[in-house]
Amino acid sequence: MPDHSPDSHTAAPSAAPSAAPSAAPSASPSGRPLRVGVCGPVGTGKSSIIATLCRELAPTLELAVVTNDIYTDEDARFLRSAGVLDAQRIRAVETGACPHTAIRDDITANLLTVEELEEEYPALDLVLVESGGDNLTATFSPALVDAQIFVLDVAGGGDVARKGGPGIERADLLVVNKTDLAPYVGVDVARMISDASAVRSTRPVIGLSRTDRASIADLLAWVSTTLDRHRSGVLVPQDPGPMARHVHAHQH
């Protein structure tokens, strides 16, 4: 009986020539694509942001996506059905009801899936990993991703950003999503963003809405800068950490 290895049925189609600037895999000192994690509470818009990034970036960059669904492969199916990326480049990882574990203390399932995609598509520039939406405390291990985006939405309330937490305070980018909903949920977006900025020192915050072109341009600019830093070898994965560090703002 011929017994193929699990991966052998998904032979990589020959990579299409990419129009991206310096898209060669050797472009980064690590010799591999940039890995960006997208995490944050349930329903804040992680999959939608990934779909937006795929739609905007797929013409110029080689992309792949890994989703961590809690119970179904719904996120992966949503992204496949969005038609923004070849379905083979979107893989779901099961987390055994442990979404935190899978991005933090045992990243094996995710890492192997990312590596599998990198082997099958050697020209990849960017791999996006969506965490299983859970709560405010889950962040990615720096051993899994090079940079991470933490996503909040205005519908979660204006206080969430001010309350802080590891992702809010120290993720490489904080997105306050669905700003178009602010008038309906009584949230002052400018205030929410300034509260978030206050707990993040110099780290960036973007108020985002899929209906606001300028905000999408800001997001794309962040990705582009991060990709450049990865390629030039100056991007050092930062750990937002599982615990909020206590900062003494007052004078001793």
Partner: protein
């Protein structure tokens, strides 16, 4: 070397080898009518079939690689005794995860596996155990114990249950684990690896592989 401590390390669910993604097919079994009441019998059935094959494979891989050989034939013997593609794929995924970790902790342990595409978890574990100097009995007990814990901790996620009840199932299965180890500890050649399938587990594993609603990989 502290063999007992190494066994503890390898048996610990906190070892980052994606153990939390596995249910030992019990997720599919529960979805297809097995009740929590049946779990002890399910554990016993596994220990006498699929897990016996795994333990036998690991023990022979250990023996062959310690003698300076390659485990290719051992891995083929395992595949021939594991007719379900879903179970083979799950085991190969776990083998890859273990190789990934062992490559960081004990890189020399992987030398006999070089060039072997997608070895089973049993083949990798047997090879690593041989490198670490673990005995065949310890290795077989490790595999049996890990299988029992995998199933029981998955059941806790899937069904309403007092965790102490699940631990009680594990404790009650220990004599069966010891019996499994006695059965395979002396094996040295691939031909002698037990060939006992369990068609019902294989059918469940295949059904699980194509469902879109699952918590566990396999």
């Amino acid at each position: 070397m502290h063999h007992e401590l190494l066994v503890m390390l390898l048996a610990d669910s906190r070892l980052p080898v994606a153990g939390h993604t596995q249910s030992g097919t019990v997720e599919a079994a529960l979805a297809h009518g097995l009740t929590t009441h049946d779990v002890p019998a399910y554990l016993q059935t596994r220990l006498r079939s699929v897990t016996l094959v795994e333990a036998g494979t690991a023990v022979v891989a250990r023996h062959v690689t310690r003698a300076g050989g390659r485990p290719d034939d051992v891995d083929r013997a395992w595949a021939a005794r594991t007719p379900s593609p879903a179970l083979r794929q799950a085991s190969r995924g776990q083998g890859r995860a273990l190789k990934h970790l062992a490559g960081k902790l004990w890189p020399e342990a992987l030398v006999p596996l070089v060039g072997l595409a997608a070895p089973s978890r049993a083949t990798v574990l047997g090879t690593v155990a041989g490198h670490l100097g673990l005995g065949p009995g310890s290795l077989a007990r490790l595999i049996g114990y890990d299988d029992v814990q995998t199933v029981c901790s998955a059941v806790l996620k899937l069904a309403p249950l007092d965790p102490a009840v699940a631990s009680g199932w594990v404790a009650a299965a220990l004599p069966e684990v010891a019996a499994l180890a006695d059965q395979v500890a002396d094996l040295t050649v691939p031909d002698r690896i037990p060939a006992v399938g369990c068609p019902q587990i294989e059918v469940w594993a295949e059904a699980h592989a194509v469902t879109s609603r699952r918590l566990f990989r396999a």
